[in-house]
């Protein structure tokens, strides 16, 4: 790994994320209150350090405890779903891009069809029919529906890597199919995959909270989305019980924002053409500079959990464009 210049943006994003992670992992132990236990009346105001730090919600449960456990649940769901989606997208994209031919055609057609149908629709259709929505089932459903944009991008990159000389060398020296994929193709995709993973996790977290708001959230756990769901359904906004909806809102926004910031700063690391820096030199004037690079910018995330696929890669030719 060459030495990388991380911008301040990266450190800010990383710091926020680490704080959130710490809160999610050790928070429940620190708070030491069962989120389902009744600790007070309906919508009690925040009072003192302890379980009532953020008051109670509509069932008299500690908002603080729910926040800690809820953050943990949201992150777990996001990580599982993000991992599943990234793995599927990677495998489909690499196999399609590398193999070519009939397999490529089939996989690409399937991917393109699924791309046109919004993820939220498929997920709602599936979730509506589940009678037990556990964290893992939900994560699974989200994971197996969010991979198409990644598969398409990975396929495009794989087809361009495939035509490079070192692949020919590997093939001529008798390397096996999977060995080539792992050792000669994957390293080139790694930078993109890292960014894509960050986006997938972020998207999954937001998708889960969208589902929860619609009433399709996990049935046996509390998540940030579930907290918001109860907050809206029981009119906490109207009655001004801000402690019931502000914490999950802030937490959700922070998670989404820091992940997005992380992805955007990683994008600048891997894509020097996007950098806008200052040249440090003796003179007074400080213009911006750009260095030409190979690929375009990475995908953008929308805040409802739908990822907008990588923009400049338009598959105008069969071989992915070369």
């Amino acid at each position: 790994m060459r030495s990388v210049n991380f911008t301040p943006r990266f450190y800010v994003a990383a710091t926020i994320l680490i704080i959130i992670l710490l809160f999610a992992i050790i928070g429940p132990f620190l708070v030491r209150t069962d989120p389902n236990a009744t600790v007070g009346g309906l919508y009690d105001r925040p009072a003192g350090w302890g379980p009532l730090l953020l008051g109670t919600d509509n069932e008299g449960q500690s908002v603080l405890a729910n926040l800690a456990y809820g953050t943990r649940t949201s992150l777990i769901v996001g990580l599982i779903a993000g991992t599943i989606a990234t793995v599927i997208g990677l495998v489909v994209g690499i196999v399609a891009g590398f193999r070519g031919g009939l397999i490529d055609n089939l996989l690409t057609s399937a991917t393109n069809i699924l791309l046109c149908i919004p993820v939220i629709i498929i997920v709602i259709l599936m979730s509506v029919a589940l009678d037990n929505r556990s964290i893992f089932t939900l994560a699974f459903v989200m994971g197996i529906t969010s991979w198409p944009w990644l598969a398409r991008a990975v396929r495009a990159q794989t087809t361009s890597v495939r035509t490079r000389e070192h692949i020919d060398v590997a093939m001529m020296s008798g390397a096996s199919f999977w060995s080539i994929l792992l050792r000669d193709v994957l390293p080139y995709l790694l930078s993109y995959v890292v960014m894509a993973f960050v986006l997938q996790v972020s998207g999954a977290i937001l998708l889960e909270s969208t589902l929860s708001m619609l009433g399709l959230g996990p049935s046996n756990a509390v998540s940030l989305g579930i907290m918001l769901y109860w907050a809206i359904q029981w009119g906490s906004v109207r009655t001004g019980a801000w402690w019931a909806f502000v914490p999950p809102t802030v937490m959700l926004t922070l998670i989404s924002f820091s992940l997005l910031l992380l992805q955007s700063s990683l994008d600048e690391v891997f894509n020097p053409r996007l950098r806008r820096g200052k040249i440090k030199r003796k003179r007074g004037t400080e213009p911006t500079y750009e260095i030409p690079a190979a690929e375009g910018p990475a995908p953008q995330l929308t805040a409802t959990g739908v990822v907008e696929g990588p923009a400049p890669i338009q598959d105008t030719r069969k071989d992915g464009g070369r």
């Binding site: 001529m172 820096g277 030199r281 213009p287 750009e290």
Partner: protein
């Protein structure tokens, strides 16, 4: 008579993101007379492209011109103040022919649109038809099909695109054309066509001088009247083509010339026997019999 080009004391430096300096052109001065083709030769990183971009006034960050003056027909400009140089100098006094015309024209516009924009940028009152007529005449004059004007860049072949871009670069009859590796991306017959076109244009006085930047020495031999050899940002030797090629003095020039590959006759005739066609689909290494 005064020189066409007088570039004096040019120093161009690249600044890395960490703030370090990399000198691209180290205090170089070159002169050219009317009607000359000056070949800038050297290996990669010698500074020839950098010098070319500075003289054609297209140097951009992170390349910074620390000092230098450019005098064309007696008109001098301070190269360290790139922003103050009149915009119209570019294209009508000095003009660049970029390396690899692949992406030199925006992919979403037709060639004719660029032609009109270029003409209008230098004379706001030019009518569209006038501009297109002029371009069409140029194309026909130099043996290119006029329908190229109505094409999108992706519809032209590599060689055709390079020649069309050459026409665009010289549309305003610049005094000096700086061609940066114009033949490097072309096959041999396209190279020949391009070189012949450049010489014909010079003959017709469309431009008065060409700086031909390349690493390809054999090409320079056919097109350049004078050659300047660059190494590590400095001009190590310059002189008439015949002198440089037949009787180089500087050890680097000698090394450069001797590195041109010409296979001896006996090796040129040997063929490798028995190599089977390579099947990528089956991922097996081919057998090679000796």
């Amino acid at each position: 008579m005064p020189n066409l080009l007088d570039a004096a004391n040019i120093r161009g430096v690249y600044y890395t993101p960490a703030g370090e300096e990399v000198v691209g052109v180290d205090n170089v001065s070159i002169q050219m007379a009317e009607g000359e083709v000056l070949g800038l030769a050297g290996e990669s990183g010698s500074g020839k492209s950098t010098l070319g971009s500075i003289i054609s006034l297209t140097a951009r960050e992170p390349l910074v011109v620390e000092h230098g003056t450019l005098t064309i027909d007696g008109d001098a400009q301070d190269l360290s103040q790139m922003d103050k140089i009149p915009r119209t100098w570019r294209g009508s006094v000095v003009s660049m022919l970029p390396q690899g015309a692949m992406n030199s024209v925006s992919p979403t516009m037709k060639i004719r649109d660029l032609v009109v924009d270029v003409m209008r940028a230098h004379d706001g009152k030019v009518k569209k038809d006038e501009a297109l007529d002029r371009a069409r005449d140029r194309l026909v004059n130099l043996g290119l099909p006029p329908r190229a004007l109505d094409a999108y860049p992706h519809q032209l072949s590599g060689g055709m695109k390079q020649r069309v871009v050459t026409i665009i670069s010289t549309l305003l009859n610049p005094r000096l054309l700086i061609a940066d590796e114009p033949t490097s991306a072309l096959d041999v017959s396209s190279q020949k066509a391009l070189i012949e076109m450049l010489l014909e244009m010079l003959d017709k006085e469309i431009m008065s001088g060409v700086i031909f930047v390349t690493h390809d020495l054999p090409v320079l031999r056919t097109v350049a009247t004078r050659i300047a050899v660059m190494y590590q940002g400095k001009v190590v030797e310059s002189g008439p083509t015949a002198t440089i090629v037949d009787d180089p003095e500087h050890p680097y020039t000698r090394a450069l010339l001797s590195s041109v590959l010409t296979p001896e006759p006996k090796y040129a005739k040997i063929r490798i026997e028995g190599m089977r066609a390579f099947d990528r689909e089956s991922f097996k290494a081919p057998e090679v019999k000796h």
